[in-house]
């Protein structure tokens, strides 16, 4: 549905370069995972795409429109962002949380149509019983699903997810991944997900983007990216890659020096 073109993107705080010369095309309705060691600039990359951070150099085009020329509200109508977690000072009910996703589409009033859409999303995801619960009271898995529901309510062509599975047990990890995959397949959504679990990335993504030190090391389908050489180069870890039903699975064996964070 939407194609994202990123051309020569650079971003940094003061003298520290976080992202350097990133150029990549993301095809429509594909599931792209971004992997890489901590501090590789993965989250920053997502935030640049979403205009939360403004890049120093380079352009990002969504359907050939430069997001620099788009208003923030317009970006929000095209790209949804699912944060890793949402820390709130004040309590918010689940319904209100999901309703926030409608904000880019409405004026001052949340009219019945918007509320109907929120109910619809909640019901689709089986969250309607939680509608009046307090967001903070819920389990990590439920919270993550609600944040995804919010992105869904935003009705955008692109969803960015920042480590949505990091705090979850494997059941919920699979649950979240299945949800996203379903969106990509049935709703033509383009999903960009930062994820640490290489096996999850491998199992669900169409393409994997491997980053280190603000640069793209490798990009392509899981089989071509998840190789022993790439993993050793990026993570400094000796690993065994085992292919099952055409999907590569990574089994880390041992560290190689202390290069992982360098």
């Amino acid at each position: 549905m939407v194609k994202i073109t990123i051309n020569d993107l650079s971003f940094g705080y003061a003298s520290t370069k976080i992202l350097e010369n990133i150029s990549v095309d993301i095809h429509k309705s594909s599931f792209v995972s971004i992997v890489g060691p901590n501090g590789a600039g993965k989250s920053t990359f997502l935030k640049c795409i979403n205009k939360i951070l403004t890049p120093d150099r380079g352009d990002i085009h969504i359907d050939r429109r430069n997001i620099r020329q788009m208003k923030r509200m317009e970006v929000a109508r095209n790209i949804a962002y699912v944060p890793q977690s949402s820390n709130r000072v004040f309590p918010t009910t689940v319904f209100e949380m999901v309703l926030m996703g409608r904000r880019p589409h409405l004026g001052w009033f949340s009219n019945e149509t918007d509320k109907e859409k929120v109910w619809h999303v909640l019901e689709e995801m089986g969250l309607d019983e939680l509608a009046l619960r307090n967001f903070d009271e819920l389990s990590g898995g439920q919270q993550q699903k609600i944040l995804i529901a919010r992105a869904l309510a935003q009705e955008t062509g692109v969803i960015l997810l920042d480590e949505p599975t990091s705090n979850l047990d494997i059941w919920h990890q699979l649950d979240v991944m299945e949800n996203v995959k379903w969106l990509v397949n049935n709703r033509n959504v383009t999903a960009l997900m930062v994820v640490h679990d290489l096996n999850m990335a491998s199992k669900y993504s169409d393409r994997i983007l491997m980053m280190k030190n603000g640069r793209i090391v490798s990009v392509g389908d899981p089989v071509s990216v998840l190789t022993c050489e790439n993993i050793e180069k990026v993570y400094g870890v000796e690993a065994h890659v085992h292919t099952h039903e055409g999907i590569p699975y990574v089994m880390p064996l041992k560290q190689r020096g202390m290069t992982a964070d360098a």
Binding site: P83, W119, E123, M125
Partner: protein, 374 residues
């Protein structure tokens, strides 16, 4: 169409929360309708209480005027041809009691709504309308006026004018400062605290040089008092009030989103810094206007939003007006108690507000369910 995941998700709910499932969809919706209905009811009750109490308080005072006479006097202002009344009760009701009540309602409402807005945009439950150093600025303005007699306008409005000028100066300075540095809520709060210290020490300096009478003037101003409000300064307050509150209220949706953090807000299309600046500016303007007429009644701005949040939740479309109504309610009740509890001595409104408000607030804190709020 999402049958597969519906089933799975249902299962996940059962697994993780252990609650009985298979509630009908319509149940959740009707629960929500009832929830909204409760909020509306609460708002309505609050509004009715404020009106009722205002109408009751106007009949209370040392001058014995019957309830009917009081309303005859009030209506005679609107329909002078139909009601005729004596001078003295008319003077008392119209020029003494009513301005006090109107001032109480407007000041309480303004403080409540501004407190709510500031807590949300600063994402800090300890923020109050005076976080930006407004009260210390105002106190300093009063100190300058009292000790040196210097101000932008002279005459009876010297104090008021100075209080307003300096509180706005303080707020503007902080807002300007933090807009240079990106206006995160932390910058605003820190700058506010710093400015608070600066201006309180400046006021202390003036206290040191003040004569006995000037000192009294500053101290009694600092306690907060509604009696200085009169019809002649009503229009100014009303204009600012009518200008600020609707604009703040129009930001209700954005305020809801502000509390989930700047980055999240940005991803939903809200420019967090701009919204914060806008709200802080309007709130400062309104607070400075209220403060220069009534002195510092700090407690309401801090606590009314919390009280409202405990009862009504944190949807600002309900929360903001509810904070305002609660603020107005607490202030007029405190004022009438302060005026009448140890007659003929009057207890200053600011003191009475805290004396009455704190126990009520404590009760709410202890009563609330664990983890329900904050």
């Amino acid at each position: 169409m999402l049958g597969l995941f519906k089933k799975q998700s249902r299962k996940s709910d059962t697994d993780s929360s252990g609650s009985s499932h298979r509630k009908q969809t319509s149940d959740a919706r009707s629960d929500y309708q009832r929830y909204v209905g409760r909020k509306m009811l609460f708002m309505f009750v609050m509004l009715a209480l404020v009106i009722f109490l205002g109408a009751f308080i106007v009949t209370v005072g040392p001058l014995e005027v019957s309830v009917i006479d009081v309303y005859k006097i009030l209506f005679s202002r609107f329909f002078p041809d139909y009601f005729i009344n004596a001078d003295l009760p008319s003077q008392v009701v119209w020029n003494i009691r009513l301005p006090r009540i109107v001032a109480g309602i407007m000041a309480g409402f303004g403080l409540g709504i501004c407190g709510c807005v500031m807590q949300s945009v600063l994402k800090n439950p300890l923020a109050s309308p005076f976080t930006l150093g407004i009260s210390s600025g105002a106190s300093f303005g009063v100190a300058v006026a009292a000790v040196m007699g210097v101000g932008i306008i002279s005459g009876p409005y010297l104090l008021v004018g100075n209080a307003f000028l300096f509180s706005m100066l303080c707020a503007m300075f902080i807002i300007a400062l933090s807009s240079l540095k990106g206006a995160t809520s932390e910058t605003l709060i820190l700058a506010g605290i710093a400015i608070n210290y600066l201006f309180s020490s400046l006021s202390d300096l003036f206290h040191y040089f003040a004569t006995d009478e000037q000192l009294r003037l500053m101290v009694s101003w600092g306690m907060g008092d509604l009696s200085a409000f009169s019809w002649s300064n009503f229009m100014l307050l009303l204009c600012i009030f009518v200008f600020c509150t609707p604009l703040l209220y129009l930001k209700a949706n954005d305020l809801n989103i502000m509390v989930i953090g700047d980055e999240n807000a940005k991803s939903l299309g809200i420019d967090a810094n701009r919204v914060r600046m806008f709200c802080m500016l309007l709130a400062s303007l309104l607070i400075a206007t209220i403060v220069c007429f009534t002195g510092t009644i700090a407690f309401i701005g801090l606590v009314a939003p919390h009280m409202a949040r405990m009862v009504i939740g944190s949807d600002h479309k309900y929360l903001a007006p509810a904070s305002g109504l609660l603020g107005a309610l607490v202030l007029i009740v405190a004022d009438v108690v302060g005026m009448n509890i140890v007659r003929p001595t009057i207890v200053p409104t600011g003191i009475m507000t805290s004396l009455l408000g704190v126990p009520f607030f404590m009760y709410l804190i202890l009563k609330r369910k664990r983890k329900e709020f904050w």
